[in-house]
Point group: C2
Chain length 252, copies 2
């Protein structure tokens, strides 16, 4: 399995059903949000106002499931391994195909994922560490009906690696960019023992520091808090793999 | 005249009627686009697809002329020195106040301006040079009814300065970022003798090279080409001055 196209076709065919975390080094991975056109404007303004959580890489034309710019020929209804469906703010099902749910006015948003920079961190000598997804008490800036708390990922690393990681991830503004916080989880309302996904952290080893990045799971929390009528997303860790090369999509 | 607020109030009061080019060093300057809500979604997608020409710094809530995030307390109907009004693709008037034209569903977009980085260039030893605005034959990526050619600015400088300017302006992704072209104007369909604004260049001195940046006048060309029903913009060179500091709004 070497190219983004092959990975997507394997997901389409049902041969790939697992996560994309630490898979397909070098390609930009994306979070997915699908909304009816009627909610698309407010959501796009929400993304503009919260670019660290929701850096928009592509917006599809209404009804067209092909991301023409970031992955020509792909089909966003089938080319992710796992989707989550939210109705009036409630997660009602997880599915492997959203063709039956796709509407003629559906708009898909691809939002950069921090999975993209995990390989860049490894290349820079920052060891791969388990990624947890966590709620914070930091509010996002609302837009229309969309509001709710910022969701973050946390990675535990040494202070020296935290400094490298801060510099390096700042080069990936379309994949959440630099951290939003380093150190005390309580300062941003995070409880490391209660992740939204990933294994709880019972205690942080004294030689490590928690480093927090804004996370593309934020729209899923916002859908729940704001009781959005109908929204489809990826499942955390099951990202869409674009044809964009991570190294061509970062700043100097 | 030292602060952004003072500058805006002077424009509001009619004491400041001139251009903002090379004025108010240090503050982020913005291009303005005002559209009825019905056209706002297509335009925001257009900006997402053409981020070098249209880096969005703020989208106001419908009907509210205050840019709450980039200049709290400002009024976008009065706080620019000069506005252009386009009706069905035709520039019908230039005015100093758009209060009579503002609708209850008007949405304002603030788009970063390259005027922001002119002082950074000067600080880096790149002499201030006259800025021209020019049409190209490079198409933008359309969105809905919005399509048309990319508009650029050109600055003439030595090759050594062009290298410095490329590195430096890449740090300002929300103010058009790095150049889109260096050298032969013909390669991007530019005629230096026919600028949209600024003095024609009859010949480029042999020691200088033209350096081209994507320009926030692009939406005005797009309004004309696409015959947009009703759109208000700033007049080229008469930008909106935000409270954002340029040095806090750039990458490492």
């Amino acid at each position: 399995m070497t190219t983004a196209t092959e990975a997507r076709l394997a997901m389409r065919g049902g041969e790939w059903t697992g996560m994309t975390t630490f898979k397909l080094p070098g390609w930009v991975q994306c979070n997915l949000v699908v909304l009816p056109k009627v909610d698309a404007y407010d959501f796009l303004v929400f993304c503009q106002r919260n670019p660290k959580a929701c850096p928009v890489i592509e917006v599809t034309d209404p009804g067209n499931p092909e991301p023409r710019f970031s992955a020509p020929g792909a089909d966003l209804r089938t080319d992710l391994a796992r989707y989550a469906v939210y109705r009036k703010g409630v997660l009602t099902e997880e599915v492997e195909d959203i063709k039956p749910l796709w509407q003629e006015d559906s708009v898909a948003f691809l939002i950069g994922s921090s999975l993209t920079f995990d390989f860049a961190l490894e290349r820079a000598g920052v060891p791969m560490s388990q990624v947890r997804v966590l709620d914070t008490t930091i509010p996002t800036i609302p837009a229309g009906k969309f509001s709710g708390p910022l969701v973050v990922t946390v990675r535990l690393m040494t202070p020296a690696h935290a400094i490298i990681a801060t510099q390096l991830t700042a080069r990936f503004p379309f994949n959440h960019g630099a951290p939003i916080h380093i150190g005390d989880p309580g300062a941003i309302g995070v409880d490391l023992q209660r992740p939204l996904s990933g294994v709880p952290v019972t205690s942080v080893p004294p030689e490590l520091v928690p480093v927090f990045w804004a996370c593309g799971v934020t729209p899923q929390r916002v859908a729940m808090i704001s009781k959005i009528d109908f929204m489809i997303t990826h499942v955390s860790g099951y990202a869409f793999i674009t044809d964009l090369k991570a190294d061509q999509f970062c700043t100097p």
